[in-house]
């Protein structure tokens, strides 16, 4: 698995949401600060497990959401309730299916989240006359495709213990990218249920695998969510 840091400008730059007059610490992703300032129309704070949806099937608004802070989960549900998380979006990703008014998917806050809402037509009009933006959006789509396919290997061919190790690696890379050496410290941005739904496991199995990683001295956990990875190399070696 390729856990290298994605190519974004991680220095935070102020972004002013014109309509709400909220000043964010934004990051350069698909939309740069200027474009975001130009387009953003509404800023929302969403709380973890509020049940509120972002751009998604049921909230079929004509908009995209640019993630400013926190983690958004994209999930799909079978008729009998079985759920699978099919993607995580970190700042500064743009959430929402380009060129489609609905998508058979739900976007919800996995952690506490702040998003800037961008009207669909405005963005799509801007895409037409801005080749750089177009390229960045194409790159986000292709990167998400690569990530989805990489995760298919995890879902289809890895053991429970490899799955959990892979998730910890993924999050360590996204949430503590500047750490030095072999240790990483971060807070899990999601519940055990979310983790299970992302890995195609049950919460009990996830919990047992965490306990095993603790027992083996690879991680320590406090307050359920706070993770200290003692050795990233050892964790990597468990990713299959």
């Amino acid at each position: 698995m390729d856990f290298s840091r994605r190519d974004i400008h991680s220095t935070e730059i102020p972004v002013l949401c014109r309509s709400c007059e909220v000043r964010h610490k934004g990051m350069c992703g698909a939309l740069n600060p200027d474009e975001l300032t130009l387009l953003s129309r509404h800023t929302r704070q969403l709380q973890h497990s509020s049940g509120e949806e972002l751009v998604g099937e049921s909230t079929d608004v004509e908009a995209y959401d640019n993630v400013m802070r926190g983690v958004v989960k994209l999930s799909k549900t079978l008729e009998d309730g079985r759920q699978q998380i099919v993607g995580l979006q970190f700042a500064p990703d743009l959430v929402g299916r380009l060129y489609a008014t609905e998508s058979p998917m739900t976007a919800e806050a996995a952690s506490d989240v702040e998003v800037c809402r961008v009207p669909k037509v405005m963005l799509e009009r801007l895409i037409e006359r801005n080749p750089a933006l177009r390229k960045r959006l194409m790159d986000q789509a292709l990167r998400e495709l690569d990530e989805a396919r990489e995760w298919m290997v995890t879902l289809g061919r890895k053991t429970a213990s490899e799955k959990v190790a892979s998730l910890l690696m993924l999050i360590a890379v996204h949430l503590d990218p500047d750490a030095r050496g072999d240790r990483r410290i971060f807070d899990l941005p999601m519940s055990r249920l979310d983790i299970a739904d992302y890995l195609g496991l049950t919460i009990e199995t996830v919990s047992r695998q965490f306990s095993r990683l603790k027992k083996d001295g690879i991680i320590s956990i406090t307050a359920n969510r706070h993770i200290e990875v003692q050795s990233l190399a050892k964790l990597q070696s468990r990713c299959g």
Copy 2:
């Protein structure tokens, strides 16, 4: 799962590969016949399980392959040999990672395949000045992303029997799209091993599930590959 026929012009149109002077029955996909005639430089016939790779990591050629006939499998392999097929490409898909000279993936013929090879730089130059082509390629990327995420649900949350039913539905839709009524007849474009690698199962489990579908009168199989679906509705009801 959405098994609706993808939006392509399925009428076949002649395409002339200029360099090889081969005339194909092409279909309109990401590249239309004019663009393909303009760009194609070499036509290759690949045989099922020849081991030959299309555009991929090891054959790091500066080209894309446009599938004219047959089915191409995209797969990833873990160090210990566990394999996962992460996508199937049917005619007239374009195979190859846009804007990247290598991708951690292998593309091989799943069935007997005919492809038109297109030089990377030529296509990327054409993209710059052809908005319609650009949009079609963006749409293929977004569609592949949707399909990958849909398959993640299959891999992570469905039972073996639902997985096999889902694969049969997928192939029925692609390879016998014009069939009327509730019956479908087609040849499986891949081996049991490929099926297992696409579904995250073993060949034995796949075989048992086929046997069960036969016993329940939902499908009949002759010569290993030839499938007759007696009731698409019943098959659908087993997809989870």
